[in-house]
């Protein structure tokens, strides 16, 4: 189970690093159907959206993480940065 999630994270990051943002988004979204509201997948997806200035979708991802774990510092940091822009 954990191995499968790692594969999704690895594959999503591969596309993200190669600036194939649509593919990265597709992979994380598919992964989230399997691992609903998983913080790692949501965080990576949020970062992809933030990096392409799609702030509305990025906010949704970071908010979902914080609903489950209000101590997720990285999600909080990115959400605050978007809101203050």
């Amino acid at each position: 189970m954990q191995e499968e999630k790692e594969k999704v994270l690895e594959s999503g990051s591969f596309y993200f690093l190669n600036q194939q943002f649509k593919m990265a988004i597709k992979i994380y979204r598919k992964g989230l159907k399997e691992y609903e509201n998983d913080a790692d997948l949501l965080f990576n997806l949020g970062i992809v959206y933030e990096s392409i200035n799609d702030t509305e979708h990025a906010k949704e991802c970071f908010k979902k993480i914080l609903e489950k774990d209000k101590n997720h510092e990285q999600a909080r940091k990115h959400l605050e940065k978007i809101i203050k822009t």
């Binding site: 994270l9 990051s13 690093l17 943002f21 790692d40 965080f43 990576n44 990096s51 392409i52 200035n53």
Partner: protein, 234 residues
């Protein structure tokens, strides 16, 4: 010219705006003399700036006694108290001969008198924030705008999808729209251990014609307002 003095600022009036300006300047390494007659406001800033003084700045003698002669730039933000603002600015310009005085105005009448006193720069922070917000709501693809003159602007605009994967040479923006791209702001993807995504904010100044536009790029462009508006419509 005494170089040291250029780094010395006075901020008079420590409400939300004055506090923020003083704190941000201090974070940028400037030496700040922060002044307010409200003890709580001085307490709030005392650990963030070089000097914080509780005093009534409309008292000319007190201003002379606190070392204002070292100040290169003074920022006056005493809220809605127009009389105090005018009195303080007069002392700063006429008596203390402060080189650069910036004052916050509440309305146009206030601004006109400040101008007559010789204030070097008059600001309307609330109006400026409101204008920025209104612009961003009407044109969501515009991230920032600087008015250079009545006719010319610098705008930061999200690259349209039709530009993705094409070089500046191929897009030929100067010929098509008569504007120049002076920089590209780009978030470069990175990843940490365990495939956790991140990105670095970079700015490509004077990009080469061979530079390829990628999704998420923000184009910093200069040109006539009407020409820049044509790009917003793409």
């Amino acid at each position: 010219m005494d170089k040291k003095k250029e780094h010395v600022y006075a901020v008079i009036g420590l409400g939300n705006f004055g506090n923020a300006v003083a704190t941000l300047l201090s974070e940028k390494g400037m030496e700040i003399l922060a002044i307010d007659e409200d003890e709580n406001k001085v307490e709030n800033i005392v650990n963030k700036v070089a000097h914080a003084v509780q005093m009534n700045a409309t008292n000319e003698q007190s201003l002379k006694e606190i070392g204002m002669e070292d100040v290169h730039t003074a920022i006056v933000s005493v809220g809605d108290d127009i009389a105090s603002s005018l009195l303080i600015c007069t002392y700063l310009k006429d008596t203390l001969k402060i080189k650069h005085v910036i004052a916050k105005a509440t309305d146009q009448k206030h601004a006109r008198v400040l101008e007559k006193i010789g204030v070097d720069r008059i600001i309307f922070p609330e109006y400026e924030s409101a204008k920025r917000l209104a612009d961003s709501l009407v044109s969501p693809n515009i991230f920032d705008m600087i008015e250079l003159s009545d006719k010319h602007n610098i705008v930061e605009i999200k690259a349209p999808s039709s530009f993705f994967g094409r070089t500046l040479e191929e897009i030929d923006i100067r010929k098509r729209f008569d504007v120049n791209i002076i920089a590209i702001k780009r978030n470069v993807p990175t990843a940490k251990d365990g495939f956790m995504n991140d990105f670095e904010e970079t700015t490509i100044i004077s990009p080469s014609p061979k530079e390829q536009i990628v999704e998420g790029d923000v184009l910093v462009m200069i040109g006539l307002k009407e020409h820049l508006e044509n790009i917003e419509k793409i």
